[in-house]
């Protein structure tokens, strides 16, 4: 009987965490950072997002502990802090794939 009647607080925190991952921009930033730590200028160049946009998204991810940053002079070097997101994405990705495959199979049968 896993996850039996979780408290509203837990549900809220879970939902809040998933909400962080519910934005393609944030996922992309996380993926970029997973390639290795880099500064904001590099993120701007790679993603095409505006500086303020990136700054806001990163601060959200940082509050959740998914990224951290360290100063290098005037620049900030961000890094991905948690492998959990990787695992979650891979689980979901696998599911998306198998689901599409089964839909394909259904089409074939019909």
């Amino acid at each position: 009987m896993a996850l039996a009647a979780p408290s509203p607080q837990l549900l809220d925190e879970l939902a809040q965490f998933f909400r962080l991952l519910s934005e393609p921009a944030r996922l992309q930033l996380l993926c970029e950072l997973k390639q290795g730590p880099c500064d904001v200028a590099a993120l701007i160049e790679r993603t095409g997002f505006s500086q303020s946009h990136i700054s806001r998204q990163l601060s959200q991810l940082q509050r959740a502990g998914l990224v951290s940053c360290q100063r290098d002079g005037v620049r900030l070097i961000y890094r991905a802090e948690d492998a959990l997101v990787d695992d979650l994405c891979e689980l979901v990705q696998t599911r998306l794939r198998t689901r599409l495959e089964s839909q394909l199979a259904q089409l074939g049968k019909a």
Copy 2:
């Protein structure tokens, strides 16, 4: 080099999936259904949500294949379709806990 530069489409689909889980109401419904299949009336009673609200959330979850339903006369019996959500929630829950613990330890040291 996991998750290297995923396509925008994949990012969108991942984000869309996580968005489904970013709503406490939907998580709660999934949890209720995980206790076992049940009809909408029971869900209304257990959660206190309005009928239309529940219907909408369930339809979203159904489109994603996270729940399915089967007719019993005029009523619909819904059931949770995928253990993935359980796994995801447990992973995140574990992370939330360890994170709070480390924050506690930090407080102790300071």
